[in-house]
């Protein structure tokens, strides 16, 4: 049973009377616990594809089914709730809330979901320790390095136990050491939390770590290969 299925997904942008086919007839399926990379050059449609999977953008044609729910059928208000309960996001620029500490950033979604304080605190501690930031829980993002901020973002994405995590170029702003570190953490959490990770990248270091590599070019899937067994 696939937790995520894309059926013949298209995305066409109308820009200055010129149609841009950003995603062209993509059909994919993802199982629980996958650690998959969507690879391709800039402008190949990786981010557009991730945005559609995350319900941030609607396909022009085709359907995206998450656990038997076609997210294209959801009303905007339901879609926001759907994202909150099912999807974790990791962004290229970390995008933490600057006025909150690492712990508060991780607790934020749990708070939106109405988790009781004790559970929130326990879960945020567990995750921040898992990403190696147990001693920086009360630090604000401005006092942390890029790698540390991205680790907080990973902890935040996993906080409410989503079905899958979407990471758009998560290592683009990190040096090689921080990238290595982050990928190890993501891989470990993928295994321990049994959460599917789908990330876009054009970084070879990331590609090497991925279990499944989907190559996309001009909006179309070129290759879809398994590299490692889970």
């Amino acid at each position: 049973m696939k937790i995520l299925t894309l059926n013949n997904v298209h995305k066409i942008y109308n820009e200055s009377e010129v149609q841009v086919h950003a995603v062209n007839s993509v059909s994919l399926g993802f199982d629980k616990g996958e650690f998959a990379a969507i690879v391709g050059p800039s402008g190949s449609g990786k981010t557009t594809l991730l945005n559609m999977i995350g319900g941030l953008d609607q396909p022009t044609e085709g359907e995206i089914i998450v656990n038997s729910t076609n997210i294209g059928d959801l009303k905007p208000s339901k879609l926001i709730d759907f994202r909150m309960y099912n999807i974790g996001f990791v962004f290229q620029a970390y995008n933490l809330i600057p006025v909150l500490t690492a712990r508060e950033n991780v607790e934020f979604i749990m708070h939106l979901q109405g988790w009781p304080k004790q559970r929130r605190e326990a879960r945020s501690r567990e995750l921040l320790e898992a990403v190696g930031l147990g001693d920086r829980m009360d630090s604000r993002p401005s006092k942390m390095s890029g790698g540390q901020q991205q680790r907080v973002a990973v902890a935040r994405a996993l906080a409410s136990k989503p079905r899958f995590v979407l990471a758009d170029e998560p290592t683009a702003n990190l040096d090689s050491q921080a990238t290595e570190n982050l990928l190890d953490i993501m891989e470990r959490l993928n295994r321990e939390e049994e959460v599917t990770f789908i990330f876009s990248t054009h970084d070879n270091r990331v590609v090497k770590k991925a279990h499944r590599v989907i190559t996309i070019e001009d909006g179309q899937v070129e290759t879809d290969e398994l590299q490692k067994d889970r």
Binding site: T47, N51, G54, L56, D57, S77, I80, D81, R83, M84, Y85, G88, F89, F91, A93, N95, I97, P98, V99, L100, E104, E107, F108, I109, H111, L112, Q113, R156
Partner: protein
């Protein structure tokens, strides 16, 4: 958590938030303090008008206010006054004769309204007897410390209210009239009037006292003599009265008592001070509206500044707001967060402004604002040049509500702007 985030967000750009808060603070101080000055002026004017000029309620013959004929009296005024005095809430009652006369000194002459009063009863209704001279001023001016000496000085040089024992014809005039007639204490003035039979009569009065109040028009046009003396000159019965002046315990009871008296005496005209001096009634009724209007204008101006600031806030945080919406913060929460930030930004400056304005009002309410250099202008329109600002708690509470309302209204446009963002596009924007 939203409250906490909103509060912390306010302080992200400390300088910008402080500038907005200072603007709100200054606006609040300016608005509230000037409102308190106007309110204080108006309340003082009303109090002084009641205290020295009108008393709370007056009863007349129904035609007297239109045509001051000698014959338009209130009938058996003694019994009427006694009945009114027994009504709960009525503090004192004075019967007056009121006759338009010509008054002359050796220098000049003018027309005035001559009030024939019973000095003992009149003291309970108006306070002209307190306005003759300020003994503290005399003492300070001449360096007197002995109360006997002050009293003797007041009696001999400055004048006094009517001496009960004196049978001489005494008159108490206003300072403005005294200046016009070039009259002083003990100056003889000739009063000419029409008697009840239509003939002209006159008499000589000696100035017993010169009163000074804050209404120079009243000073110039109203003089007081004993009722018996005026009755004798006009040929009226001393038991008759043109006017029954009533002082009540509490100004708030006036309208109720006017209704009560109107029902009890349907053949007479019963008027409150608001009807006797309609401009005062209008001032008290409209001033509150005007004060709120001033505050609304100030808040409206501040509101545009707040809208501008919050728009900048939203534009600067497009990416962050996009992220919040992407990870599951719904529109209501985003709207609420922006609204809370606006309320915090506004209410902080508002509260500081209200506290500072309150302290200023308290200080100047006790010490007064001395505008003595504009005294003539103020007194010409009946106002005291010593202003004591004051404002009631309901005004503060309403202002608090108005600030919150302004913040809510000011937050709508920036918040709607934030809600219109597409999270995916917002996340792509580079700032």
């Amino acid at each position: 958590m939203l409250l906490s985030i909103a509060w912390k967000n306010v302080w992200r750009n400390r300088m910008r938030s402080l500038i907005v808060m200072i603007a709100v603070t200054i606006g609040m101080i300016g608005g509230i303090f000037s409102s308190a000055v106007f309110k204080g002026m108006s309340d003082q004017r009303v109090k002084e008008a009641i205290k020295y000029e009108t008393s709370h309620i007056q009863i007349h013959h129904p035609q007297f206010m239109e045509n001051q004929e000698l014959g338009f009296t209130v009938g058996s005024s003694r019994q009427l006054a006694a009945d009114i005095r027994s009504i709960p809430g009525v503090r004192s009652v004075s019967r007056r004769l009121e006759v338009p006369v010509m008054i002359k000194s050796t220098a000049t002459g003018t027309g005035v309204q001559l009030m024939g009063i019973d000095p003992g009863k009149e003291k309970g209704v108006t306070a002209i007897h307190e306005a003759l001279y300020d003994s503290a001023d005399v003492a300070e001016h001449y360096g007197f410390t002995d109360p006997e000496k002050i009293h003797s000085f007041l009696r001999d040089s400055v004048g006094e209210y009517f001496r009960e024992s004196s049978r001489a014809r005494q008159i108490v005039i206003g300072e403005e009239l005294a200046e016009q007639l070039k009259a002083d204490i003990k100056t003889k003035l000739v009063v000419n009037l029409q008697t009840t039979d239509g003939s002209l009569s006159g008499g000589v009065f000696r100035v017993a006292g010169i009163y000074r109040i804050t209404n120079s028009t009243f000073e110039n046009t109203v003089a007081f003599v004993k009722k018996e003396a005026l009755a004798e000159l006009t040929g009226l019965d001393t038991a008759s009265a043109h006017e029954i002046a009533i002082r009540v315990d509490d100004n708030r009871q006036v309208d109720l008592l006017v209704d009560q008296l109107s029902q009890k005496y349907p053949g007479l005209s019963v008027m409150s001070w608001k009807e006797i001096q309609p401009e005062l009634g209008m001032i008290t009724q409209w001033l509150d509206v005007m004060l709120y209007f001033i505050m609304v204008i100030i808040l409206l101006a501040l509101g545009f500044g707040i809208v501008n600031t919050m728009l900048m806030v939203v534009m600067e945080r497009v990416k962050e707001l996009g992220m919040l919406m992407a990870i599951g913060m719904n529109r209501a929460r985003v709207f609420g967060m922006i609204m809370l930030e606006t309320i915090f930004l506004s209410i902080t400056g508002g509260v500081i402004g209200m506290v500072l304005a309150g302290l200023l009002i308290r200080y100047f309410g006790n010490h007064g604002i001395n505008l003595e250099s504009f005294a003539r202008g103020f007194e010409a329109i009946g106002y005291n040049p010593m202003l004591y600002p004051q404002i009631g708690m309901p005004f503060y509470l309403t202002i608090t509500g108005l600030i919150i309302l302004t913040a809510i209204v000011a937050s709508i446009y920036p918040a709607v702007k934030a809600l219109r963002m597409n999270p995916a596009e917002a996340l792509r924007i580079e700032i």
